[in-house]
């Protein structure tokens, strides 16, 4: 359903967000590995997850102390899921029983902390189950120490055998020669009996643990879910975000940011221009000069819709978003080059596959500079036709293009602000002071990467001409360009 390649996930900044998660427990790590978008049919489950995340984001400072302790216990946990699953059918060995006992001790430590946390957060989830009965089986003497041995208290026969073995060992220590060898032989026989009896006891223990296995496995699930939710909350604390409202088909994203781009800009002392966009069923066209603004807006939109559908808070001020059956991104990436097709050929093959899939349900489709690799006249015609087609599909489509005459074939039109609000006189003055070498950097600084909704017909902005003017293109050439416009 989500058909983003690893490279695309990296490209839009989704991997960056995932890589920032560092769950405390193996159960949380398991959840991170298994992360996937919720299907529209799982809307209620997604809503529950998002509301729980909201409770953590808003309430975690009210229970910071027990939460910290809770996470410290999580950090010491080992993955015993397979051991528990094996225990359903087989007798466990001493190391496995040790691992289960340690898990049960950890559960016993977590339970009071969980109750404290729940009193504050009131999460909507299954409770952490009390597994004290199972712990009592593995810790009959109530030592609550995380070491395990097959205790004599389980079996009178075991007690007798160990006593016998100990007596022989005492005698071996003092004996020598043939007597010692004879004692060692006898000891080996007793040790073999001991091992056999221990095996019988371990089988009996494994069996008596069986009724508690569902509770143990449920606890592993719950701990994984909690661990992941805490990590999602940490991600929101790092980059900001909001509880999204789930809609039927329209998306409204206000003040979105893209962490990977924002962090990279931050390192260079620059800041990310927040992006806002509304998308409905049909095709929305995004236009603008070739200065990067379109791609960023596109990546940021798909990232935040994807985060939302995966149960994260989108990195935005306000979000209303639907759930999609499929999310597809067609961009000029290395994939097509790898397959030996031209970039245009690759796009068409990929587009055909996606069109087939659009029939499978409500989809999100993003096309970044579709058909950019072909000549402008043909390219514009292709993109116009594609836009017209997609506008009638059961999909939310966002197309970024620099071709003219595309916007009127879609339902809505956005444009990169670019140099629209530029005070040309002021920039000229700055340019004169800076000298022509710094002109490119200066224009980049004045470029507004935000987008705005265009009402009524309008072609691509003429930023290219402005750039030519600002950078002092030869007067005669400039005059010719102006005539051609």
């Amino acid at each position: 359903m989500i058909e983003l390649s690893f490279q695309q996930q990296e490209n839009i900044g989704f991997r960056y967000v995932l890589d920032s998660l560092s769950p405390c427990s193996p159960y949380g790590a398991e959840r991170v590995r298994a992360l996937r978008p919720y299907a529209p049919a799982e809307r209620e489950e997604l809503r529950r997850q998002l509301l729980n995340l909201d409770r953590v984001v808003r309430g975690q400072s009210g229970c910071a102390a027990p939460l910290g302790k809770f996470q410290r216990v999580l950090m010491t946990m080992k993955d015993v899921r397979r051991i528990a699953e094996r225990c359903r059918e087989e007798a466990l060995g001493e190391i496995e029983l040790f691992e289960l006992k340690r898990f049960l001790i950890q559960c016993a430590e977590l339970l009071p902390l969980w109750n404290e946390i729940q009193a504050v957060l009131r999460l909507d989830c299954a409770p952490l189950r009390d597994t004290a009965a199972a712990l009592d089986i593995l810790d009959p003497e109530h030592n609550r120490v995380a070491s395990f041995y097959v205790s004599e208290s389980y079996s009178a026969r075991l007690r007798a055998l160990r006593k016998q073995k100990r007596e022989l060992e005492e005698r071996i220590r003092r004996a020598a020669g043939e007597e010692k060898e004879e004692l060692q032989r006898r000891r080996l026989l007793v040790a073999a009996d001991e091992e056999h009896e221990e095996g019988r006891v371990r089988a009996a223990l494994s069996e008596s643990l069986r009724p508690s296995l569902p509770a143990m496995l449920a606890n592993m699930d719950l701990l994984g879910e909690l661990d992941l939710t805490l990590e999602k909350a940490a991600m929101t604390a790092r980059w900001g975000g909001c509880l999204p409202e789930l809609t039927e088909d329209e998306a409204e994203l206000v003040g979105m940011r893209n962490p990977v781009i924002a962090d990279a800009l931050g390192k260079r002392g620059k800041s990310f221009t927040p992006v806002s966009i509304s998308l409905g069923r049909g095709a929305t066209v995004l236009t603008g000069a070739n200065m990067g603004g379109k791609s960023v807006a596109m990546k940021t939109t798909v990232l935040n819709l994807l985060l939302c559908q995966c149960g994260f808070f989108p990195v935005a001020e306000r979000v209303r978003a639907p759930l999609f059956d499929g999310i597809y991104l067609i961009s000029e990436d290395l994939e097509s080059v790898d397959r030996g097709l031209s970039s245009f050929g690759g796009e068409i093959v990929r587009f055909n596959q996606v069109v087939e899939k659009l029939r499978g349900g409500f989809s999100l489709l993003l096309l970044d500079e579709f058909a950019r690799g072909t000549n402008p006249d043909e390219g514009a015609a292709i993109v116009q036709a594609v836009t017209e087609y997609l506008d009638r599909q059961n999909a939310v489509t966002l197309l970024a293009t620099h071709y003219d005459g595309v916007a009127e074939h879609g339902s809505a039109h956005y444009q990169v602000i670019g140099l629209r609000d530029l005070d040309l006189a002021q920039v000229r003055a700055e340019l004169a002071a800076a000298g022509p070498e710094d002109g490119v950097e200066l224009i980049a600084r004045h470029m507004n990467y935000g987008i705005y909704r265009v009402e009524g017909p309008q072609n691509c902005p003429r930023d290219a001409l402005n750039i030519c003017r600002l950078l002092g293109l030869d007067g005669e050439i400039l005059a010719r360009i102006e005539r051609a416009y």
Partner: protein, 338 residues
């Protein structure tokens, strides 16, 4: 044994027992130490580098004694070997270290018994395991070293080391004596003093790279040993540190040429990085170069076993007395009664 091994080891909290070869009497020595230490009381902890303690030698198929530990001892061994160990086992902890025979686990012996050992084989892991043993209350840690990994037991891992040699090494007594003397020399090379060099090694990006150190500071070096020594940077250098191994093959062109080596000190991480014959070592010394290590081994005793697993034996008094003349550490006959 005329001199008690446990007395020689008394000042140290950890010791490793390593063998020149299979059947050098390592297990006999280990059992002797365990018995002597058990009489003194205190908690013993045991592990091995790689695998050891089989009833039959896996390589040569000869019968071997097992390691027998007293109740209360701590053991780190691989999970698959538990069923081959017959002491009453209490699982105390698991470790993140894995061997071909499963995960390494920590056990406490609740009875006397035989143990099969297979521990981690990396220096850092052994050092961490030592710390875990001490945290669990061990008074002395013994590490059973495996064949051909002699100097993993540098002082970073154990404070003291016992080397075992014997008739099983070679049929010819002269070969046993000469090769053992050579190994002892390599194991006991002095540590390099230069703090500047040590600091530079710590910061190296490539652990197998080389460094030249002298009056002009420490600079990285690249290429074959011969190339490095003929380079400009080598002039006036006091130390040449080699991150990888120093082998006969690398040294041969240098020894055959007139590359300047007088006064130069060659430094390697530890004795395990020296794959040098006695002949090369001799020639190196003749050319005025010396050898140092970053981590030395504290060899406290050499044990000799006059009986070969292959059915012959040496004169025990001759073996012991001649060996004692060749090495600067106490020599102990493993089979001699106390």
């Amino acid at each position: 044994m005329a001199e008690s091994l446990s007395r020689l080891l008394a000042p140290y909290r950890s010791a490793s027992i390593i063998g020149m070869c299979k059947n050098a009497g390592k297990t006999t020595v280990l059992n002797r130490i365990i018995r002597e230490l058990a009489e003194d009381g205190g908690t013993l902890a045991l592990t091995s580098i790689g695998r050891d303690g089989e009833a039959t030698d896996l390589v040569t198929g000869t019968k071997k004694p097992g390691i027998y530990i007293p109740a209360g001892s701590l053991v780190a061994t691989a999970a698959d070997l538990l069923r081959l160990s017959d002491f009453t086992k209490e699982v105390v902890d698991t470790t993140p270290y894995y061997t071909p025979m499963g995960q390494v686990v920590l056990l406490r012996a609740r009875s006397d018994g035989n143990v099969q050992l297979a521990g981690p084989s990396m220096t850092a892991q052994l050092a961490e395991l030592n710390a875990a043993f001490f945290a669990l209350g061990a008074d002395k840690v013994l590490i059973d070293g495996a064949i051909s990994r002699k100097t993993l037991c540098s002082r970073r891992v154990t404070e003291a080391t016992v080397l075992c040699t014997g008739a099983s090494y070679h049929r010819d007594l002269e070969v046993v004596l000469e090769d053992t003397r050579h190994v002892v020399r390599l194991l006991t090379l002095p540590e390099v003093g230069s703090a500047a060099l040590r600091a530079a090694v710590e910061k190296m990006d490539n652990p197998r790279g080389a460094l030249l150190a002298g009056e002009n500071g420490v600079v990285p070096a690249a290429g074959s040993l011969d190339t490095i020594l003929r380079g400009k940077a080598a002039r006036g250098a006091a130390y040449l540190f080699l991150g990888g191994a120093l082998t006969d093959n690398a040294l041969r062109p240098v020894l055959m040429s007139n590359a300047p080596m007088k006064g130069l000190c060659l430094v390697v991480r530890d004795g395990s990085k020296l794959l040098l014959s006695a002949d090369s070592l001799e020639k190196l010394t003749l050319r005025g170069a010396s050898l140092r290590v970053l981590d030395s081994v504290n060899l406290v005793a050499l044990t000799v076993n006059p009986f070969s697993a292959y059915g012959f034996s040496f004169d025990r008094r001759e073996l012991k007395s001649r060996m004692a003349e060749l090495v600067p550490v106490p020599v102990i006959d493993v089979e001699e009664e106390e």
